[in-house]
Amino acid sequence: MVSTRAQTAADPEPDFPWGGAPCPVLVADPAGRVVRCNDAAQALLPGARPGSRLADAVPAWLAAAHQAVCLPGPRTAGEPDAPWSGMIEARRLRAHPSVRQDGAVAWWLVDDTDHHLAREALRTERERTAFLARTSSTLLSSLNLERCMDVTAQLAAESLADAALAIAPARGRRLPVVTCLRGAAPTSALEAVDADEVPGLGEALRGFPPVPSRWIDPAAAPAWLIPEDFGPVGAIVVTPLPGHGVPAGALVLLRKEGGAAFTEEEEVFARLFAARAGAAMSAARLYAEQRAITEVLMRELLPPVLHQITGVDLAGSYRPSSDHERIGGDFYDVHPATAAGEPSLVTLGDVCGKGLEAAVLTGKIRNTLHALLPLADDHQRILTLLNTALLNAHTTRFATLVLASVARHGDAVRVRLTSAGHPSPLIVRADGTVEEADTRGTLVGALPDVRARTTTVTLAPGESCVLYTDGITEAQGGPLGDAFYGEERLKRALAGCAGMPAEGIVEHVQMLASQWLGSRGHDDMAVVAISAPRSPHRDAGHDRTPGGCAA
């Protein structure tokens, strides 16, 4: 070797001028045999001796490149410029061919390692940025905790590990866990396990004491942490998911045995991911908690679902003014009779104002009316007591309402009606006549005294009494957009409802008012129909309606 080097350094040969070139140069003939190497090539590829087969002396990618260059026939466009590159030892080299006149090819091997590393780093960085951006947009679009956990586990399994577990703080004694294997769908479970048996997990879920990501010994991991069919585990890391000042959970990443271990860089990246996932999960959890509170409070304020009571058909429908709230200032209720033969009390009303504030007042009125049930027959007395309960020195927020005591008498239904400052109920007769119930009274909650006049109507089978709030008649719209729906139109519509069941009437009225409005804004709208069933003979064996037909 020494002699060769001395020779080449001193006297470059005319047909091999690159003996002293700093980068490796190797010449091979069209038959695939090595012709010459310079020192650098010799050092890099010790097996490449003149005469040796290229396939034995150099990595396969280079041998293949040589074959491609030497291949006779037309080449596809661009091919001569196509760079060949590959690994030799731990270095990445780019091979540039130059074909000599005798058909041999001189391969210049340019070290590309640093350039390549920089490009790789840039690509990784771009991928990670894109991944984080995708993480954020996917996670932040949902306020559902389970969905956020699914997405967290799935994204992590896709880009950070062979499997990932998203774990939320314990609900009761059980740990909500979503597990996802790379390429599979996430599965969720409630694990009855102790988080503290996994080092670092308890702290991560409590958010205290603060811990960074923590490596745990795969051998010490409890079985529930390892997904089924995962195989031998190479590495496990537990990362806290920080929320908005509260711990949102923990992320567990698993890699298979024999795979790459987590680098420090990857761990930092996992933490960036965890911060995003944690923020989304904690927002979802706060939202769920708030929603649960609102649900509970609202349940009390929502109008009840009406059905049949003691042989009377009832239906109610409510549409609040705002599309964002399900409650408002209109209300209705039914208090079934406590004893056979006694009338049931149906109420419908409207409090001044709208939205949640009004809804709270409806709750107060409904509770008060419920407490006054023993007096149900004495409408004037109920209204006086209700008025006293509502009167208040600071406001004149009032309510208008209709009380209806309903009882079955034979095939007919008798209804005693009292309006307290409310639009009079409408009676739909079997022949399509629509009558206004003759009752008038003072609104409640604003004046010291209330007076009311009660009326009694009898509904023959198929006839109905319709209670409604002024949201229906004051619905402003119509084809020209500026007219009130009005009482006359309502009466005309009801005339076509003769003989209809209560539910049909209520839905029909709500639909007409809604069509009248189009997409315009409106007040709360409530409708209740009290009907005498058309076919009083009941199919006893098939009466599955609660309450049943007692008459």
Partner: protein
């Protein structure tokens, strides 16, 4: 629609013992408070006035909040010993007062 939601405009004039507020526009959920504030301010600034006259000829829609404000003004005038009049009521307003059983309250002597 040619009529845009009209804001409430109040024009107050007065003599020695009478305050007159002319109401133009809707007395509704969004605006009714303005009338209550104005009436209360007048009652406070001029104790002992004999009459508060609300001129309603140009009043627009009156909703439940509007009626609630009228009731509150009624309560405050009664407490101040001032008589409240709802003058030049359009038919629609009279119907609302009649329906809610408050017409007598606003028109009976003593208010």
């Amino acid at each position: 629609m040619t009529t845009l939601p009209s804001a409430l405009r109040l024009t107050t004039t007065g003599t020695a013992d009478t305050v007159r507020i002319q109401i133009t526009g809707d007395l509704d959920h969004d605006h009714a408070d303005l009338l209550l504030d104005e009436a209360t301010a007048q009652l406070t600034a001029r104790p002992g006035i004999r009459e508060l006259r609300l001129h309603c000829a140009e009043i627009g829609a009156v909703d439940s909040m509007g009626l609630s404000v009228l009731l509150m003004i009624g309560r405050r005038t009664a407490a101040a010993g001032t008589r409240l009049y709802l003058d030049d009521r359009p038919a629609r307003l009279t119907r609302l007062l009649d329906l809610t059983g408050t017409l007598d309250h606003f028109t009976a002597s003593g208010m």
